[in-house]
């Protein structure tokens, strides 16, 4: 029967756990001041109820409990309209727990409160994007573990006292706090090892992305165009429906790319600010817009036409026909993106987004009816080639001339350079790779703006004078050089999702990751991705290692490299070095273990028949032994007694008797005295009264009386044991 909790530490732990769970929800649901206010509010409310339960006897007033519950219901209904059903349910959980707190007096109430808090923390963990959330998780874990320990202590105390027994005098001795902290540290170390070293399965993303049109991303003229196929005429007085973009926003989609300005260091933009989080099993090149027309210092789009798409029956948009390749699925959570373009990987097949209509350009760029707002998230799937690691866009250029266009004042030096670098290659792909390699190896990455002299284009200054620049220069140089050797090319601007944070499980795409690269058209393959900028990795087929430790090493190395490129010196490099050493040590250990495992596996494979025969023999022997276990125990008992010194024969005889009788389901019960046990045995074997009594006497004398049996007594015990054993053995 559950009794009132008498341990103050349990209430304190529960208060901390509930407050932290409210904090977990608040930090992911609102801005910082709102979150702080929410945490303070719930700390007071939850703490007040728990304080009442700890200090007052008897049930709380019904009006108090009902009042809190009514307030909670009202807030829930309000939030249902303001923030949606999920937030309303979470709020309801907190309010209902607050209503239960004044009556929280038993372990069951405490366990229920822990379950509520766990649900809230799981929600917070699933929505959190910052590594700092780990601190909250650790604090919550500490408090929850403390509550579990105190609940266990309470359970033990309840079992100790019979229901009608008076309570012992004085306070219950509480579990030492220092020991509790040490215990929690132990749990965290084990958890950390598991978290860092155990690989995780691929996610299944069931119902992970909302689909269907939201009011924010809808546009009537687009929808009409998608249904009828006719482009609406724009004239004075024409209505473009809800969510229509003003002209200024439409022009942003057509804004040219100025190669002299680095998008990573745009004024007013923190290069380290995270613009989106991406969930994927590998790094991705997320394409925004592509540019095909080059005019010495800027790129523009010659074809701005788009086709409007409506979602299919399953709520997803079909962007292209499915084909052969490795299907990659990814989810993106937007923090801050300019414009209305959705970054997607090359050859995107499907898109799941809360929009009623989208616009898809011929080059694969996708636009929303309205600018992307913070909090928007979408999911997509793309196809990557099976036979090589570079992403490939599959749109076929009907007219290649725009992709071979060169500026009017095109310098012949650039063409000569391109011919010279690619002379050794025979295939278009080989030539493109040669150009890529040349740019990666012969030019340095820098944010410095190129100062051009009279008559020298910025691109020429980059290629022949400064030999350093940012990614727009590298991409422009390669695209122009490809065109110079008659390979169609275009510059793509988007984001590179390459910094995988294993703590949160997301790729953190920063403003610094805004990038420009090149797509070159190779007959028979498509628009292959090329990375001419040395500071960025050439597209690889690499996936996450699956172990957090290695991923942490890669993450910290990537961050330290980015900070070095920005000219910053920070602690990240040291942390990266530490993780690298840990990872290398672990790798060596795993390699050794794998070598041993392979050796054992090889031996087992070579001797499989013999092993199978041996296992079969062992199994058969085991089965026979089980059938004859009583006989075997009896035999073993005789051997043991034979080897036992005379002084210990009574003790050994009794112990062996327990074992042999136990095989006949006459084992000694918990709390049973020697006499009671032998009485019970005697009820089954009535004729063994004298022998059992002899053993009991000898055992008690030796065990409790400290007497050493004489030879005659020891022999008598052995004879009695022999008689008992033979009788028990017979069944």
């Amino acid at each position: 029967m559950m009794q009132p909790i008498r341990i103050t530490g349990l209430y304190v732990g529960l208060w901390i756990a509930l407050t932290l769970s409210a904090a977990a929800r608040a930090v992911v649901s609102g801005d910082a001041p709102q979150a702080m206010l929410g945490i303070f509010f719930w700390a007071v409310v939850q703490g007040g109820g728990l304080w009442y339960a700890r200090t007052r006897e008897g049930a709380p007033p019904k009006t108090l409990v009902d009042g809190i519950a009514l307030i909670g219901m009202g807030v829930c209904v309000l939030q249902l309209f303001l923030d949606g059903i999920l937030q309303a349910m979470l709020s309801l959980l907190l309010w209902l727990q607050a209503a239960r707190n004044p009556a929280l007096t038993t372990r069951r109430d405490a366990y229920f409160a822990l379950c509520i808090s766990l649900a809230l923390v799981v929600f917070g963990a699933s929505e959190a994007r910052s590594s700092a959330f780990v601190v909250l998780l650790a604090a919550y874990g500490l408090s929850a573990l403390a509550v579990l320990v105190y609940c266990h202590q309470q359970a033990g105390l309840e079992r100790e006292l019979p229901a009608e027994a008076p309570a012992p005098g004085g306070d219950v001795k509480s579990f030492p706090l220092g020991h509790l902290v040490a215990l929690s540290v132990g749990v965290f170390l084990v958890a950390l090892s598991w978290y860092l070293l155990v690989p995780r399965p691929d996610p299944i993303h069931f119902a992970a992305v909302p689909t269907g049109g939201g009011d924010k991303y809808s546009r009537e003229d687009w929808e009409r165009e998608a249904r009828t196929g006719t482009v609406p005429q724009r004239g004075p007085g024409s209505k473009s429906g809800r969510g229509s973009r003003p002209a200024k926003q439409e022009s942003k989609a057509d804004e040219p790319l100025d190669i002299t300005r680095s998008n990573q260091r745009a004024p007013g933009v923190d290069p380290n600010a995270i613009v989106m989080y991406v969930q994927s099993d590998r790094p991705l090149y997320l394409r925004g817009r592509s540019f095909d027309r080059f005019e010495n210092d800027r790129w523009s789009r010659s074809d701005t036409g788009t086709r409007k798409l409506l979602p299919q029956d399953d709520g997803k948009f079909r962007l292209s026909a499915s084909g052969e390749g490795v299907k990659v699925e990814y989810l993106a959570h937007v923090v801050s993106l300019p414009g209305s373009v959705l970054p997607l990987s090359a050859h995107a097949v499907t898109l799941a987004a809360p929009a009623s209509v989208i616009a898809a350009a011929r080059d694969g760029a996708v636009f929303l009816p309205a600018p992307v707002e913070p909090g928007f998230h979408y999911g997509a799937s793309s196809l990557l080639p099976e036979d090589q690691p570079r992403p490939v866009a599959r749109d076929v250029p009907g007219d290649r001339s725009p992709y071979l266009q060169l500026p009017e004042e095109f310098s012949s030096r650039i063409g000569e350079l391109a011919e010279r670098v690619s002379a050794s290659a025979t295939s278009p792909l080989g030539k493109a790779v040669a150009l890529e390699t040349h740019l990666r190896s012969a030019y340095a990455y820098s944010f410095e703006t190129v100062f051009t002299s009279q008559g020298v284009t910025p691109l020429e200054a980059f290629l022949f004078d400064t030999r350093r620049g940012h990614c727009e220069f590298f991409a422009s140089a390669m695209a122009v050089m490809l065109r110079a050797i008659a390979i169609p090319s275009r510059v793509v601007h988007g984001y590179l999702a390459q910094n995988f944070n294993p703590v949160t499980g997301f790729y953190e795409v920063r403003a610094f990751d805004g990038h420009a690269w090149v797509e070159g058209y190779v007959d028979g393959t498509g628009w292959m991705t090329f990375e001419p900028t040395a500071a960025y990795p050439v597209p690889q087929r690499e996936q996450q290692t699956g172990t957090t430790l290695f991923d942490l090493k890669t993450y910290t190395e990537g961050l330290s490299l980015q900070e070095a490129l920005q000219g910053k010196i920070s602690l990240t490099a040291s942390v990266a070095a530490l993780f690298r050493q840990l990872a290398e040590a672990w790798h060596a250990l795993v390699f050794q273990l794998r070598s041993w495992f392979d050796a054992v596996a090889g031996w087992v494979g070579a001797h499989s028949l013999a092993l199978a025969a041996g296992l079969a023999a062992i199994s058969a022997t085991g089965a026979l032994a089980y059938r004859g276990r009583v006989r075997l125990l009896w035999l073993w008992a005789r051997i043991v007694l034979f080897a036992t010194p005379r002084a210990k024969i009574p003790l050994a005889a009794f112990r062996q008797l327990e074992r042999v009788a136990g095989a006949r389901r006459l084992g000694r019960l918990e709390g049973e005295t020697v006499e009671e046990y032998l009485d019970r045995v005697e009820r089954t074997y009535v004729e063994l009264h004298a022998e059992l009594r002899r053993i009991a006497r000898a055992f008690n004398a030796a065990r409790y009386g400290g007497e050493t049996p004489s030879s005659a007594e020891a022999d008598g015990v052995l004879r009695a044991f022999q008689t008992i054993g033979m009788r028990v053995n017979a069944g």
Partner: protein, 414 residues
Amino acid sequence: MPVGQPEATGLESPIAGLARLDRYLSLPLVFAFLGAATFAVAWNRGIALVYALFAVLVGAVLVSVAGARWMLRDASVRFALPGEASVGDWIYATASVIPRARPYSRHLLQMRSPYPFAPAQHLFLTVCGRDTQRSHRVLCERRGVFRMSDVVVACAYPFGLVNMKRSWAVEPAAITVYPRTYPVSRFDLPTASHRTSGELERPAPSVGQELFRETRDYRSGDNPRHIHWRSSARHGRLIVKQFDAIATSETWIVLDLDPGNHAGQGEDHSFERAVEIAASIAAHLIRSGLRCGIAGGLREDGPVLMLPPAAGGAHLQAVMAALAGVQANCPADYRSVLAALAPHYRRGQQWILFQHAHARPAAPAFLRRPALWFRFDTGSFSDTDLSGRRLRVPGRLADGFAISRDTDLAALFR
């Protein structure tokens, strides 16, 4: 619907159904469910932070497995108990754990029924070690001579998730728990031919008094004081009186140790009731200066329990000790037991007998005065459902008392 009765909401049945689920819920089961749910969320969304939470749950389980095993490393237990007590007494016991290996401070240990005389009493030690002891009160529930033996220690350190058990040795300690006795203020005996009332409270004749039986001719050596002068004058020769030694202050209490005649469980066992009755009567008689003996059972070499009537504190101690340790483990016919006790009969003795068997045994032929019978309704002791029953005054019979499971023994002796 009757006035004042709460309106049925239709939820009673589902709520009752949910309440029935409660008995299947255990912390490990709920913990496993929550762990699986957390893993499912983490796996579905591929969220590393939720995996971190799952890792903490796994860490808790692994620490529980290792921690419980660690806490149960080699140790022994020491109990300090009073040497004697009676059933129903609260005694103070001290328990201490002596670790023989690290760690020297043990936590969250549970001993289930460490005291054989108090099976319902469990012991939970939050912190114990070389320098800590735990004193607590224990209710003595069973009688007997108990030597503390190995105790099974369970530990679910630290979260209650994984429970392990181990047997630890207990340093020698013993306690004798005597049967419960009721204060005897008034106890009616069946009327005898030479007594109008049979209250034992009146002092009975002391040992050594003789009862006149008959006359015979004088023989050399007879005590002249025993000459019956009237008969001598009538017959013209010396006639002396013949006396029998009487033992009107002696009482025999004979228990039935045949296990087949008893029923019940725990303190509601019919044999335990018989022992309580015997102990109460014996204690009262001996303290009153009378002589009382107990007997019961029969083996080849004689009665199993045999303490001839005597008086004094030492005898009382012996009787109580015998009653503390006696068990119903001797399948001998009660009539045979009584027959075996016939040589110990002396005129004037009061015999107190117990009938547990269904068949009503006849009174022994050698008894000159009616025995006092305690006739047990063994069937009532087999009945496990006594909900709502109240204790009742014992029923009076012509030759004794009727005892059933709900008999108030205290009222028997008031």
